[in-house]
């Protein structure tokens, strides 16, 4: 341990701590624009300058290690003046107008200008290059607001293992973006939006569908249905001042109704449906492999996360046969709503508008894939992020905190706890195991509280094994089989898992992949700012939501049973094949 004095408070910190870390431990917050949790400091923004006794120059606290008996002043007049100057310089190049900026409510640069008392701009600088990149369905980049902190570069390369962004050029003319400053649509970006999630300013955001959704709601010729992904209920509250981890399911349903949606439904419903289809698909593949001795692609990978699908199509086409053919719950919902539900209410597919609320920007991409119109029209019309839904709630003048708790509508609003946990890393796997185990043995999954703890939590790659015994006659071939599963979240972890598989051969039967760190609860469309403490709170909220449900297994969902009885007939049947399954294509990284 090292002794250090921060603003005349003496504390001891572990060897290897930075001044920034030590200050946080002492309850002092030093502002920074480039620092990221778990990542090497890069010292790009120079905002975190502090005064170290005995040193001539100010030190960047994010990258200066504490030495024994160091004395630091984090908020001395000199340190504050230096920081203010750094921010004044940033602002002098910054070409943004806060009142019209998407980030004005929680912009870190704006907050910093306030905190440092920037009252005027002494420098009139040349403004950064102005180019709006709206080339992808998911994201909009505005270089003129970029402060070149490089958080997006780090998250894209290190957390997501994609590397679509890097500083291009040098000096003032540096642009943070894809190779040779081309647009994002021209490179192999998976549209996950993690860059937008970490950007401190309004330089990367989702492509907004808010106006289009308002127009649809106002159109009397359209019946507008909304579905909300499981991860929304654990995060939307943050946009209205609730603590991370506050569940707002009931208020969210009330808000959606007040906004004017004609049907307030739940992606959870099709998460349950996904489990039936995907569980059956897994068991079918296992039967083919073990009984019929056919060559089938194993392990099977989950396919709910569209960023992961893009990643596999660009970077690992050899594994495309291993991807479950199940569409994601968002797309299953669109297809079921515009066929089954449309029939029920006597409408044509084209008279319905399906809006989804997703924690994700890649869902915007997924919705417009050409395969995703099995109802005859585009199955999901518009995708709102959690942030965009919050915007609509504000625009509608709804006082969210005073809303009553309401329920989702039947039948597409009914769901089990297994569907809720789709939001968490490890959750799809746990939900699948709850159902598959029971199908095969007739007994409940033998784990405490139905939770498979080995695959829960924030560790990057998780594994579990489960020996199957006491099988029912149809499933005798699985007797004594040790079912091996793995879970990864964050595409960087996924890349490691796949590289290991390429080198050593497969060692699992079933693998869950979620694009974003923590799973959907940490998606690129969630309220900013998401770090591990926020992730863990949202994960906790989702498990609590699951545990609070009377029905905790997908196959128990009566509305799903009715859907099969009345319409789909059987899992992997002809209708399912047409509406609920898809195929994948290799894409060339440009």
């Amino acid at each position: 341990m090292l002794n250090v004095t921060i603003n005349s408070r003496k504390i001891s910190v572990p060897e290897g701590s930075t001044i920034l870390g030590a200050a946080r431990q002492a309850g002092v917050s030093i502002p920074t624009l480039c620092h990221m949790e778990h990542r090497e400091p890069i010292g790009a923004c120079r905002v975190c300058l502090v005064e170290v006794e005995g040193a001539r120059t100010l030190a960047a606290s994010c990258s200066t290690p504490v030495t024994d008996n160091m004395v630091v002043q984090t908020h001395s007049v000199r340190a504050r003046a230096a920081r203010r100057q750094v921010v004044e310089l940033l602002l002098s190049e910054h070409d943004g107008y806060c009142p019209t900026c998407d980030r004005n409510r929680n912009c870190e640069l704006r907050a910093l200008a306030d905190e440092l008392g920037v009252a005027r701009l002494p420098f009139e600088g040349q403004k950064a290059s102005h180019h709006i990149d709206a080339s992808t369905p998911a994201l909009v980049r505005d270089n003129s607001k970029c402060v070149k902190c490089r958080r997006c570069v780090t998250v894209c390369a290190e957390v997501q293992g994609v590397g679509a962004l890097f500083p291009q050029g040098r000096g003032f003319a540096t642009v943070i973006g894809p190779a040779f400053t081309q647009d994002l649509g021209g490179v192999a970006c998976v549209q996950c939006g993690q860059c937008a999630a970490v950007c401190p300013v309004g330089a990367i955001s989702e492509k907004s569908h808010v106006e289009a959704v308002w127009k649809a709601i106002e159109n009397p010729a359209k019946t507008v249905l909304v579905q909300t992904a499981p991860a929304i209920r654990a995060a939307l509250g943050e946009e209205f001042g609730y603590e991370p981890g506050t569940r707002v399911t009931g208020k969210m349903a009330a808000a959606l109704r007040r906004i004017g949606f004609d049907g307030v439904f739940d992606t959870n419903f099709t998460a349950d449906l996904t489990i039936i289809e995907e569980g059956t698909e897994l068991l079918t593949r296992l039967k083919k492999a073990l009984v019929d001795k056919e060559k089938v692609a194993l392990p099977m990978f989950t396919s709910c996360s569209p960023g992961w699908i893009n990643f596999a199509e660009y970077y690992y086409p050899q594994f495309l046969p291993n991807l479950s053919t199940c569409k994601s719950p968002q797309q299953m919902f669109g297809a079921v709503a515009k066929t089954y539900y449309a029939q029920k209410i006597g409408k044509k597919p084209g008279e319905l508008v399906v809006v989804s609320v997703m924690p994700c920007t890649a869902k915007k991409f997924e919705a417009q894939r050409p395969e995703m119109n099995s109802s005859g029209v585009q199955d999901v019309d518009y995708v709102l992020t959690t942030r965009e839904l919050a915007r609509m709630i504000r625009e509608a003048g709804i006082d969210f905190t005073s809303l009553p708790d309401e329920e989702m509508d039947a039948p597409l609003g009914l769901s089990s706890g297994a569907a809720d946990i789709f939001a968490n890393t490890g959750g799809v796997m746990e939900a699948a195991l709850r159902t598959a185990y029971e199908i095969v043995t007739g007994r409940e999954l033998p784990v405490t509280n139905l939770h498979v703890t080995a695959i829960a939590g924030l560790q990057g790659i998780k594994e579990a094994a489960l020996t199957i015994t006491g099988t029912k006659p149809d499933w005798r071939f699985l007797e004594g089989v040790e079912l091996k599963v793995a879970v990864s979240h964050g595409l960087g972890n996924t890349r490691r898992l796949l590289e290991h598989m390429k080198a050593n051969g497969p060692s699992h039967h079933f693998i869950e992949v979620m694009t974003c760190p923590g799973g959907c609860i940490g998606g690129g469309g969630q309220p900013r700012f998401t770090d591990d403490s926020v992730r863990l709170k949202r994960i906790g909220a989702i498990y609590a939501e699951d545990e609070g449900k009377p029905m905790r297994k997908s196959h128990e969902n009566p509305a799903v049973k009715t859907l099969y009885d009345e319409f789909l007939k059987k899992p992997l049947g002809e209708k399912s094949h047409h509406l609920l399954h898809t195929h994948y294509h290799e894409k060339k990284p440009h």
């Binding site: 994609v162 500083p167 973006g177 190779a179 040779f180 490179v187």
Partner: protein, 183 residues
């Protein structure tokens, strides 16, 4: 780029066009040699530029794959250093000085005239691959401003109206062509 790093003479110097297969084989060698060396990217890019005369996109993609480095990062390095170019350069590299002295004494008009005469913009190469146009900073000939440097030769007190004559003289003299060592 230091001379000692220069590989075999480039296509234009040897007079004979080198086959694509030879160039690609050379690129493979370069990647194999440098991919595991710390800081190997820059020398690999220099040798590639020396081989092709510029850095063609397919070569950069191959380097990115070979080095296991994102293409955006390779592009970032290429665009950071002004001596790298991703466009083929002409036989003659025309650099119009935009230093202060040249600028105030008509450098800008010279540049405009040059653009018009060659029918290309700054950073481009004529269709016949004879001329590339760039702007330069001070060549140390301020007393003779405005100046234009064509390959190794500085041309002084250039008049916009006489650009055509200048280019014809250059062609007639068949000056030493631009080599890739030129920044």
């Amino acid at each position: 780029m230091p001379k000692k790093n220069a590989p075999a003479p480039c296509a234009c110097q040897a007079g004979e066009p080198v086959s694509k297969a030879t160039l690609d084989a050379r690129l493979d060698e370069v990647i194999a040699e440098y991919k595991d060396k710390p800081g190997g990217l820059i020398p690999a890019l220099q040798l590639t530029q020396a081989t092709f005369g510029y850095l063609p996109e397919p070569a950069l993609k191959k380097i990115s794959a070979g080095f296991g480095m994102p293409y955006s990062e390779v592009a970032g390095v290429v665009s950071f250093y002004s001596f790298f170019t991703t466009h083929p350069r002409g036989k003659y590299l025309v650099r119009v000085c935009m230093g202060t002295a040249c600028y105030v004494r008509g450098g800008k008009d010279v540049l405009e005239a040059m653009k018009k005469k060659l029918a290309i913009d700054v950073g481009q190469t004529t269709g016949d691959r004879l001329f590339s146009l760039e702007v330069g900073r001070c060549f140390g000939a301020c007393g003779m401003a405005p100046v234009v440097m064509i390959n190794e030769t500085v041309h002084q007190r250039v008049k916009p109206a006489r650009i055509g004559d200048l280019l014809n003289r250059v062609l007639a003299a068949d000056e030493k062509p631009a080599t890739q060592e030129r920044p």
